[in-house]
Symmetry: C2
Subunit: 356 residues, 2 copies
Amino acid sequence: MSKNLSGEAQARAVKRSTVTLRDVASEAGVGLGTASRAMDPTSQYVATEVRARVLEVADRLGYRPNSSARATTTGSAPTIAMLVSDIRDPYNAQLVHGAIDKARAAGLMVTITGADDVTGDEVRTIRLLRGQRPRALVLTSTRTGSWSSSSRLLRELESYERDGGRVVVAGDDDLPFDTAVVPRHEGAYLLATTLRDLGYRSLGLIRPAEDAPDVRAWERGLLQGARAAGVRVVQPHRGPEVARTRDGGFAATAAFLSDGPTDVDGLVVANDTMALGTLRALRAAGLEPGRDIGVAGFGDVVDADDVTPGLTSVDLSLEAVGGAAVELALRTAVPERRRVEFVARTVVRDSTPPRI
Amino acid sequence: MSKNLSGEAQARAVKRSTVTLRDVASEAGVGLGTASRAMDPTSQYVATEVRARVLEVADRLGYRPNSSARATTTGSAPTIAMLVSDIRDPYNAQLVHGAIDKARAAGLMVTITGADDVTGDEVRTIRLLRGQRPRALVLTSTRTGSWSSSSRLLRELESYERDGGRVVVAGDDDLPFDTAVVPRHEGAYLLATTLRDLGYRSLGLIRPAEDAPDVRAWERGLLQGARAAGVRVVQPHRGPEVARTRDGGFAATAAFLSDGPTDVDGLVVANDTMALGTLRALRAAGLEPGRDIGVAGFGDVVDADDVTPGLTSVDLSLEAVGGAAVELALRTAVPERRRVEFVARTVVRDSTPPRI
DNA sequence: CTGAAAGCGCTTACAG
DNA sequence: CTGAAAGCGCTTACAG
């Protein structure tokens, strides 16, 4: 291959083996500017033959445009920086997957950073991220919504936007930026309606103790949906000990049952993980989930088909939400705040058979 | 704040609001080079007071070093590029999480790219990635091991290494690069031993039809472990239709059972997902998993506690593997190939009670 | 220890 | 349509 290189290009190739646009240009016998324009598909002012020649040379030489160099001239890198609490959480993984797909379609790469730090370190992380000059910063609003609390964080993000950066939230609608909203409210509303259609008349709510945005949205949606559908809702007292875990679901359900007999024919649980605990608690109390009492989770991130009975849940379209976040990020900034919302989809499984 | 800026810095700040090292330097009254050295913690040739002043100014002005610019001068970006088949797969998510953690400790960012493309597009993806001049490229070897097949891919990767890049594999040990090995063989070996200790004497193997590296490693480990432990292994015929899914596990198990009576007291399944199908198939045949026959999965990526009975499995230390891949990537290249291997851990749950 | 200068690999007006 | 030049924001020998 080196016999194809003209003298100058060959000399450079010895020093640093990576081939540069300069190599391509001299090898193709054109100026640097022309080579640059030839490589840019959107640039029109290039003779067709010239472009073809440059492209051919670039390919032959194995030219890989240095995106860092490009980024320093244009001012921003071809990346979307995503701040994710924990990628192992399937909730986040789905958001990220949707974002990656859309980003790739736009020729962008997604950068992932964990943010499960002590609070305050988030600010440092954002600063690091800003150093990358990404096209946009996408925040996966955590389920617990802890981010909105820090005003230092907010200031850092706003300063980033003033610098021309874009901040987009994928998650709950509680930060002052463009946001792709996870349709919790709609989903919960829809769930109430669906359960009514299946014949449920009285639902018990199982929720974690903490007053997080996601729980609030779920509860509001459910209450409104139930009211509209004419379904009764029983709100158990919430013990301060109830975490958003399977054990939390177990505890909350056990407490609910021991509060004495109620006439609920279904239990709606704030998230799928807790719902797994609910299934266990029911069985521990001698009740068969599905047959004796309906159970519905929320979020559809656990492999709900794998539990017995299959767990009715709500699919929050998380991948679409992640993709939408990227699309929002790519649109030009507008003064007012935008929000995009998706439809949720109830997925009815054996845990909520029709109640005739 | 702008009243703190000297004339020149202020003038620039109007044009592009992002503050640059030049701004910091002039505001601190030092040369650009000095400012650069002051910001670099490893640089020793800076007077302590000067460094303090520069740092103070940088902080006050909200300076965020432009990593693209830095990357174009130094030749590589402060990133680790990870090529992942599908981030939603908990297997990959765990690898990525481990990598992110270690990368952050080294001041690096992780870039994630999906590779669930048509084959051949992987090459294009790698080329794009190379454009970023990442510190290293980490490949999550897919479970199916399809990557090793493409020689074009291999050539692209090798060319990248010749350019000074580093390629590291996190997964199976079948590519000619440094690799952090997922301890499938050891894990399977260990599982066989553990089951023997629990009293199992004869194991039936349930595996997918495809001849993938992960399956091979599992099977080899299991056979060797069983031999060493004195456990008999029954190898069912493998139907060409058996996929590595829950349904595949169901089908394979059903076929195994219908092959007539065997005296196996346990079933070992190539992965957790298939094992879920095995549980179902056993129940469909009137056998209670755990009580009537033991079942063990592999990989411990499904939330094995959530199925009934809890599924005995093998934890492959995937996070450690992901972290190790980054560490390998950060070590200086050596001519010979390196491999790092972790210990697997068997997790015994109710699906394999002691057989007395 | 420090400053001025050259250079990293690109892009983009500017004048042909 | 094209080339030469200036510039993006840094780092790093080089000569003080």
